[in-house]
């Protein structure tokens, strides 16, 4: 009926989409360009000597090369250390969030006990606090426990975040009460019911929380910046923004390697990511 209208709409929608795919294209092409070509093209913007005109981006490299990528992965142990640091901060955090959060979410969603509404309200308030508010309390504890400047200073406060509990509770809400009653009739205790019925059926909620949690942890800047003083503990997110222009090609390759896991997890987990975002907006 209104094919024509859709044609216009699609064209209009392409503009913001190009802003997104364009950025990813730039990242990919930049990582495949050699140091000399990059320095020549980007030099003006980065204040390198001997350049007069304006910078341009090598959208299609003159001489595509895997050399920077090979150098990065084969000869740059510092990069590996930082990539490993990022993994070491992100994965235990997400794993901990699920181990600690899933039982709590199950209790809020499917068990009835005095104080439930009040406690859940407390979780919602805590979930809404920005880092500016939580950093001082976190610091006081981490300092008292002697954990400042260790990976635990970033991992532990992240593990006990209230947000994943909220998302997973929304996921468990989909488990029908009739199944729980059936399990109880079969003589299953609360723990068995949780493990045998709750966990398998709550997988979408758990995946939603994991995808959101991973993206958040992989991107984190504030927490490592505040709680980690030793540069050898720093994740990529602190190092990449201050890369020197002398190692442009390496920096581009490193940027792509940091981007890739987050984007891949996004593409595979998009359905759960959307579910998670929707859950964060559902009224209680």
């Amino acid at each position: 009926m209104n094919r024509k209208k859709h044609w216009w709409l699609k064209t209009a929608l392409c503009v913001p989409a190009v802003l997104v795919w364009g950025v990813l294209w730039c990242m990919a092409s930049g990582a495949l360009t050699g140091q000399a070509e990059l320095a020549d093209a980007l030099g003006p913007a980065l204040g390198l000597p001997g350049s007069e005109s304006y910078a341009r981006w090598p959208l299609l490299p003159d001489a595509p090369t895997l050399q920077p990528m090979a150098e990065l992965t084969l000869d740059t142990p510092q990069f590996f250390a930082m990539f490993w640091n990022t993994c070491r901060l992100a994965f235990p955090q997400v794993l901990g969030q699920i181990l600690v959060g899933a039982p709590a979410a199950w209790a809020f969603s499917r068990l009835r006990f005095p104080g439930r509404r009040m406690l859940f309200g407390l979780y919602i308030v805590l979930m809404l606090l920005p880092f500016q508010v939580t950093m001082v309390p976190n610091y006081i504890v981490l300092d008292a426990l002697g954990l400042m400047d260790t990976v635990w200073a970033v991992i532990l406060p992240g593990v006990f975040s209230a947000f994943p509990v909220f998302i997973m509770a929304k996921g468990f809400d989909a488990v029908p009460h009739s199944l729980l009653e059936a399990a109880a009739l079969d003589g299953a205790g609360p723990l068995q019911t949780f493990v045998r019925v709750g966990l398998p059926l709550g997988i979408p909620g758990i995946l939603s929380a994991s995808v959101l949690g991973f993206i958040e942890a992989w991107n984190a800047i504030e927490q490592p910046m505040t709680f980690l003083k030793t540069p050898s503990l720093w994740p990529l997110s602190l190092y990449l923004p201050q890369i020197s222009s002398s190692a442009l090609a390496l920096a581009m390759a490193a940027s792509l390697v940091m981007l890739a896991p987050a984007v891949l997890i996004f593409l595979f987990g998009q359905k759960y990511l959307e579910l998670g975002i929707q859950a964060s907006g559902l009224k209680e």
Binding site: M27, P137, S255
Partner: protein, 292 residues
Amino acid sequence: MKKMAAGHCVRKPQREWAAYLFLLPSMAGLIVFLLAPFAETVRRSFTNALGTQWVGLYNYQSVFHNEAFRLAAGNTARFLCVCVPLLLAVSLILALAVRALKPGGRAFKTAYLLPMAVPVASIALLWQVLFAEKGLVNGRLVSLGVQPVDFMGTGAAFWVLIGTYLWKNSGYDMILWLAGLDGIPDSLYEAARVDGAGRLQCFFHVTLPQLAPTLGLVSVLSLLNTFKVFREAYLVAGSYPHESIYMLQHLFNNWFLSLDMGRLTAAAVLVALVLLVIVLPLQRVLKGAEQL
């Protein structure tokens, strides 16, 4: 005395214990890492830096008289006032457009959501090149015959930050709007059309009023997410930005480096209070809207 309700509503003490056990690890962590130290934070906001001597409201006065705090709080407020309405509008337009395409909208949805996953740090170099004085954007401007702009050295930095923020966060709000739009029953549109309403009238008399509860939610979440704008500011300008994008987190970082606990604790309590004052009435409104 109240009579026990019959059937499955009877509380079984054993199940209650189970619930508390399920909650225990999470609650214990929250108490240790957040609640207890937050109480300590409130206490220390009224004491000297070592926490040994009561100083009344001295820390709060010192925060309020601090130039940098006024600058950061003003910038953050300005950012909220400009960014949240823009974000709400842009994401709503995207949601309506993606929905109008129905099956064809899927690819666009992915595209708009994707920046959420792009780590700020990984695109830092690209952004530097885009907005440098001799950068890509200025190169394009000059070739179009427009004066180049010093994006990072002037108040233009604020608008770069707004643009970056919209780029990264519109997708999240779009998903929330889409969920709200899906919740509007088709029967309302049919009834409106039977009454002779056109497309625009349908939008203003059915869609917008029905989206009111979603609007409240998206606003609260967007407001809270804008406190994370430090990441984008750090992406655009590193640790030493132009003063128009000097945000609360920059100030907190500085105070943290100098371990100015007096001001830091007072400012944290202030931010928490301001948020409560803004968010709680909004939640009331939401609860009210739900009961309609």
